[in-house]
């Protein structure tokens, strides 16, 4: 072992395994100093003060900080430093130990070799500190990098269409609802997520669901898939971003228990489900394919988004419809063509609708949510045939905008249409709408709806029903009628799914819990 600052040469005397080793910094008597080992494990001479000396039994001696080898070749435990043992690992002679484990101090000359004070304990402590610090830093770095990687908010796409389908199957098989939702095409997953919470909140307010119902916790339904397999060789590649996977076998077990669904008691009673036992249904996919699908495997579409593959609900529906109708996916889809602003998108889609320009309407749909309609576009137009233009012309179009989940709700402030020289104009003012046509003005306000329903419905409409219809109508007029526009890659599109979902929420907001009671009475 080399001690910087030590002024001596090699430690005398040279080690003799047959002589009791006095070892240490000084010979006999030994005063102070450092752990020593006697060859063959012989006891050492009494030592005065200082540090523990020999290990009489020749057992491993612990000397923290510096590697050593034991005289008998037994490994010594030294925390912190790499230990070389007698099992064929190289010994570290450079640390100043001879073959018997004696320490040599090349820089020391006699007892004076101690020069530099009593550094060993201090240095041992420093070494331990350094080791602990390095180990802590290394472990912390590894754990932190792993945690950062695991917590990274990345979409759960797959590298191939087959892997995407398998991920879905795996999530289905383990009943992993989060895995299923997270594994779906991002835009589709976002659509369902955006409206799930709002719908559940409204259902809770209407006392359809219990107050503690949580949209993120699915209760009452258990799903299990076993041995589900895809025929990877039969997968159909439609284009660079759409592949149809073929599901050929497996078992799906669906267990439902109405009592575990967080429905309110009054609804469970109305459904007569309070005594209903849990029901389990098992579907053998191979059997179903033979029986109901003419031997055709179940088709599940995977789409490519941002370089990763996801199973897609919309594409799966579209593909199955096409397959049923014996049609093929068109090779030239309609390219999306968004507008410069949310209001422009709404205006353009109204104009395209009036001109019966289906291509333009489809191009104005958001490519992330409804890219399937753009891929299907030529087939849809072909099936629809040539639609006659309405001949109407948009003369005025003004909207109010409001941010909603996932987009912008544009409600009509003013719209003017000219048909065959006649102008019709609708203007919104607060919760009233004024309609001007043929030189006449008519105004309808939210609080007049109930009265209007009663007048128009006469005795056929009961007071409570008129009340419900009136309240819903009033809500629609107050919130405004409009469309939801979304932004994709800097362009604005009109989202029909979000528009209908928003309208659905608006209708629900118009209802009250007592209306549900009325509807339940009518259902009985």
């Amino acid at each position: 072992m080399s001690y910087p600052g030590g002024g001596g040469g090699e430690w005398p005397p040279q080690n003799n395994p047959n002589q009791p080793q006095q070892g240490g910094w000084q010979q006999n008597p030994q005063q102070g100093g450092y752990p020593q080992t006697g060859p063959q494990g012989f006891p050492q001479q009494p030592q005065q003060g200082g540090y523990p000396q020999s290990n009489p039994q020749g057992f491993p001696q612990q000397q923290p900080g510096f590697p050593q080898s034991s005289p008998q070749g037994f490994p010594q435990q030294q925390p912190g430093f790499p230990q070389t043992g007698p099992q064929g690992f190289p010994q570290q002679q450079a640390w100043g130990q001879d073959q018997y484990g004696q320490q040599q101090f090349p820089g020391a000359q006699g007892p004076i070799g101690y020069a530099g004070g009593p550094p060993k304990k201090k240095r041992t402590g420093l070494a331990i500190t350094a080791v602990v610090a390095v180990v802590a830093l290394a472990a912390g770095a590894v754990v932190t990098v792993y945690a950062l990687k695991n917590s990274n908010d990345v979409a759960a796409g797959a590298p191939s269409p087959a892997a995407a389908a398998n991920n879905l199957v795996s999530a289905l098989g383990s009943g992993d609802v989060i895995g299923i939702m997270n594994g779906l095409a991002p835009a589709e997953a976002k659509l369902s997520k955006d409206y799930l919470t709002g719908t559940v909140d409204e259902l809770k307010r209407l006392e359809v669901l219990k107050k503690d119902a949580d949209p993120n916790k699915v209760t009452g339904v258990e799903f299990k898939a076993e041995n589900v397999k895809f025929d990877e060789g039969a997968a159909e590649t439609v284009n660079d971003h759409l592949v149809i996977n073929k599901l050929t076998e497996g078992k799906i077990t669906l267990t439902s228990d109405v009592k575990k669904i967080p429905l309110t008691d009054k609804l469970v009673e109305a459904m007569g489900a309070q005594d209903e036992a849990p029901s389990t249904e098992t579907i053998d996919i191979a059997e179903e394919i033979k029986k109901s699908n003419k031997g055709e495997p179940v088709r599940i579409a995977s789409i490519k988004v941002d370089g990763e593959w996801y199973p897609s609900l919309f594409y799966t529906i579209a593909d199955n419809v096409l397959h049923e109708e014996k049609l093929k996916w068109p090779s030239n889809p309609i390219a999306p063509a968004g507008a410069g602003s949310a209001s422009d998108a709404a205006k353009q889609i109204v104009e395209a609708g009036m001109a019966a320009d289906l291509t333009k309407v489809i191009a104005l749909l958001p490519p992330d949510e409804l890219g399937v309609l753009q891929d299907l576009g030529p087939v849809l137009i072909d099936q629809a045939g040539r639609l006659p233009a309405t001949g109407a012309k948009l003369t005025a179009f003004e909207t109010d905008s409001k941010e909603v989940t996932g987009g912008t709700l544009l409600t009509i402030k003013k719209i003017g249409v000219e048909v065959d020289g006649e102008k019709v104009e609708v203007v919104r003012s607060g919760d009233c709408y004024s309609v001007s046509a043929q030189g006449q003005d008519q105004k309808l306000c939210a609080d007049e709806i109930t009265q209007l329903v009663e007048q128009q419905g006469g005795k056929n409409v009961s007071g409570s029903v008129a009340d419900v219809i009136g309240r819903i109508g009033a809500r629609v007029l107050k919130d405004g009628i409009g469309v939801v526009s979304t932004e994709v890659d800097g362009k604005w599109y009109v989202s029909p799914v979000r528009t209908y979902s928003e309208l659905g929420l608006t209708l629900m907001r118009g209802l009250e819990p007592k209306d549900i009671d009325e509807l339940l009475k009518l259902a009985k």
Binding site: T129, V132, A133, A136, L137, A139, G140, V143, T144, Y146, A147, L148, N150, S151, N152, D153, V154, A155, A171, S174, G175, D176, V177, I178, G179, M181, N182, A189, K193, T197, N216, K217, V218, T219, V221, E222, F223, K260
Partner: protein, 137 residues
Amino acid sequence: MITTVVGSFLPWLRSGTVGRDSYEVLALRGWAGLGNGYGEVIRVAWVSMTPVAVCCVLLFTFGLRRFAAWTGILFGTITGTVAALVTVQGSNEGAMVGISLTGPAVALCGAVLAIAGAITVLTASARAATSKPGGTP
């Protein structure tokens, strides 16, 4: 602290038969509607608990025991609060998606131990200081 860090890698969320550790749960923040800045702040704060634990170990190793103890209290308080909040939410038995108690419970135990250890160190330091002539409590 090691117990808490280990606990953070045990299941915190159960979906069907799949368990997700606390970091995988954070990866779902976009799906859960926390993909905005708040979600990122929560993620960074939670992930940084491991470096905080490492700092604590280093401070203790280098003899700065009081600093280490206060760092340990910070670590234990943050992780313990999060773990306790999740633990009291319950296991949601019967739900297809629910909280798994394994991770939060282990992390909570670790946090309590970390705080207890830190308090012990602080108390010992205070006693040592007062027992020395001229020492400061």
